[in-house]
Symmetry: C7
Subunit: 71 residues, 7 copies
């Protein structure tokens, strides 16, 4: 069985697409995470409706995340 | 009695339909889960109103889930 | 005194009507539950406004539930 | 000093009026409760705006409750 | 330093004005409280916009409270 | 490094400006706090849009606070 | 692997851009933080739509934060 945190572990240094509770989505490379699914992401690009924005390196709070897609 | 996590355990490798708090629904095959009902799903297809979107493999945070239907 | 979880225990295999936080209501037979009031329900029918939908067997997250009516 | 759970204890078998977070109110007789203020209520009548509805016996999740009035 | 629960302790049998998360405000005499700031209030009057309503004795869940004013 | 609770400790008897989750802001002198950032504030003035209101001494629940500005 | 709190540790005395749950964003220099990602920020400037506002030194509650960008 694939445990959620094990899948996240295997995704370190991989590109992810994230969907947030407020409707925004982000793409970036996973640099690290903790047990609460707080994540460090690099080369992040945010999409909010039609607007794109480069965010660089971010710390993302896990409790704002709906889903994490492996690309 | 059927305990919720036991039913989830028996659903590994089965196709599920999920309803999320924000109104979206998803279908996908359960690959794994943890005690918080965080799930790993593969071959995921998201439905938001009329819009369909292929999401592939995702980690879904359990606290966004309303209900999980066994298909 | 009737403890909430004791009443739920006695309702196993009984038909229940549930009201959810998002305004939807569901009817189904209780197959099991856990301490967080996560429930396994079978023969579930969902009502959202005028729309009815058969959901079959579901796992329902307890934190989305407002009230559980014994039928 | 009147502790909230002590007041609830004394209200068993008494009629209560409850106000919920979603704006609905309910009246019913308290049959039991637990430490999270989950309650078992009997002879429940729900009021949502102008709409009245008989709910019979319900389990009410405490985290949806704003206030409990002793009648 | 005035600890919040100590100030509440000193307010027992005093009249308080409370502001709730849903915009309603209430006035009443504090009869008791617990560590979660759940409160027992007597002679409660609720104000919702222009509407006033007598609630008598209530148990108020602390997690709905924004602020408590000492009168 | 300046720990959040240490900064709050040093702010006792100082004037603060607070921003709440519901968009209101308040100014007052910090009289005390606890580990959950519940605060006792004196000489409080609330601003909601154009409306100003004197609240006197209040207990403010920490989980409604977004940010605390030192004046 | 870059743990979220380690990245925050390395960001002390650095300028950060923060996105909050209510849509506001802030820029400021990180002066300190705790395990809940509560932060002390100095030289803070808030942006809410077109409105800019100087906030000086603030304590920001971590549970209002969506993401923290390193500048």
């Amino acid at each position: 069985m694939a445990l959620p945190l094990d899948v996240l572990e295997k995704s370190v240094n991989q590109k992810l697409s994230l969907l947030l509770k407020d409707g925004r989505s982000m793409e970036g490379k996973l640099s690290g995470y903790d047990e609460y699914m707080n994540m460090v992401l690099v080369d992040v690009e945010e999409n909010h409706g039609e607007t794109k924005r480069r965010l660089g390196t971010i710390i993302l709070r896990g409790n704002n995340v709906v889903s994490i897609s492996l690309l």
